[in-house]
Amino acid sequence: MDGKFFMVEGIDGSGKSAAINAIKDFAVSKSLKVLDLRAYCEQKNNFPDEDEIDEHDVIFTSEPSYSFVGKAIRNELLVDETSYPALTIAHAFALDREILYKKVVLPALRLGKNVVQERGFASTMVYQPVQDKIPLPEIMALPGNKLASQNPPDLLLILKTNPDEAVSRLNSRFSQKYSLFDNLLFQRKIEERYSSLWLRGYFEKLGTKVYSFETSSPVTVEQNRKNALRLFQNMIGNSVKSKDKQTQL
């Protein structure tokens, strides 16, 4: 049976990492074998082969990825010192997505692994028409984006947060320096698009279950973690296939 595909979205600073870490901590506590793709890419500078994927139970991915095109997006295309044209950036995201899906996400799902991903083509739909003024249909027609819409997540969790709060949270985070996106007006516009009915409708049409949870105060990080974990547990049912045994959750 195919694995389940769980995608987490939201503006920068909305608590995506916290939500994903809750699932990761849970998987580790159940002795499931976790493949953290970012750590893998940073160590091996490549994506894992199918055999390596098959040795794990839950795969954690993110976009942009951390190898090849994704690394170029992070280290070159989106850094402050460069200004690449919008079309180049749109092509790069679609290409990174195509490689990530073909090499990791789709094989993992076929092998029955659960995949948890931070950001994906919902980010493309939300950000690129605002940032780059490229019409959405043109973006969605790019090969990597078509592939992603043909293989939608089973569950999409959109974290909603007050943009002002998110931006101030980000200012205390030094590793975000590369991002072009961290300014308030922009984040407000993006938050609006994440909350939109058209985005929800688009994914529901593809068969994705869409949830959106508030993460601004008074919602605590702990509550955000609990919400995300509960969704994940509901999605995978009461057991998950481990390489060695059936692990009761």
Partner: protein, 239 residues
């Protein structure tokens, strides 16, 4: 006056591009010019160097696809003979993107600084191969951002070794290193040869300020071929 000191070597697989580059490296050394070899750099670094990283080298020896970032993705995933297929469009995007990063980070600043740049393969390869490889038009290819940029900064001199695909294939078979690229079969190479030598390609390059030199590598020894290449390039650089 040539528009820049940019020399691009392109041609069929097995046509002698490597030998031509070797001849140019030797030419640079004989003129006491310091060379910076990107392929060597890429053995240690997964990035495109900047002009600063090049230091006081006068000659940059470059290659496409690169071996860093997108270029590594092309070599290790997209054109690999694996069971995953990438469309002509995705492949064209990838080459254009790799090219755009290479040109913006290094090639354009280097040419502006008056460096000599010698490059194996590039925009001409995309123009020649990609419309044959799959469902993408020449027009679509030359309008991709990285390709437009590369045509704006087209090499002053293009060197294309001329030989029959049969000879090229035979030479390929004798090689130790197998690229495992998906392009290496005879009917395909026949088509590619025709495109490398076509009028329309010569016109396109001429319109972008490139001089094209075809150098015989069929009825010649390696040494004769190399010294012919060195001679043409020395004349171009006014050595």
């Amino acid at each position: 006056m040539p528009k820049n000191k940019f020399i691009m070597v392109d041609g069929l697989d097995g046509s002698g591009k490597g030998k031509a580059i070797e001849a140019l490296r030797e030419l640079a050394h004989s003129r006491k010019l310091k060379t910076f070899d990107l392929k060597t750099y890429w053995k240690d670094y997964d990035t495109i160097p900047t002009l600063q990283d090049i230091g006081d080298a006068e000659v940059i020896i470059s290659a496409e696809p690169t071996y860093a970032l997108v270029g590594r993705g092309i070599r290790e995933e997209i054109i690999r003979d694996n069971k995953r297929e990438y469309s002509a469009q995705s492949t064209a995007f990838a080459f254009s993107l790799d090219r755009e990063i290479l040109y913006r980070r290094l090639i354009i600043p280097a040419l502006k600084a008056g460096k000599i740049v010698i490059q194996e393969r590039g925009i001409i390869t995309s123009i020649v191969y990609q419309p044959v490889q799959g469902n993408i038009s020449l027009n679509e290819i030359i309008n991709l951002p990285g390709n437009r940029l590369a045509l704006q900064h087209a090499p002053g001199l293009v060197i294309i070794p001329r030989l029959t695909p049969k000879t090229a294939m035979q030479r390929l078979k004798q090689r130790e290193k197998k690229d495992n690229a998906i392009f290496e079969n005879l009917p395909f190479q026949e088509k590619i040869k025709e495109r490398f030598e076509s009028e329309w390609l010569q016109t396109l390059l001429k319109n972008n300020g490139s001089k094209v030199e075809y150098i015989d590598n069929e009825h010649t020894s390696v040494d004769e071929f190399k010294s012919k290449v060195a001679e043409v390039v020395a004349a171009f650089l006014k050595f």
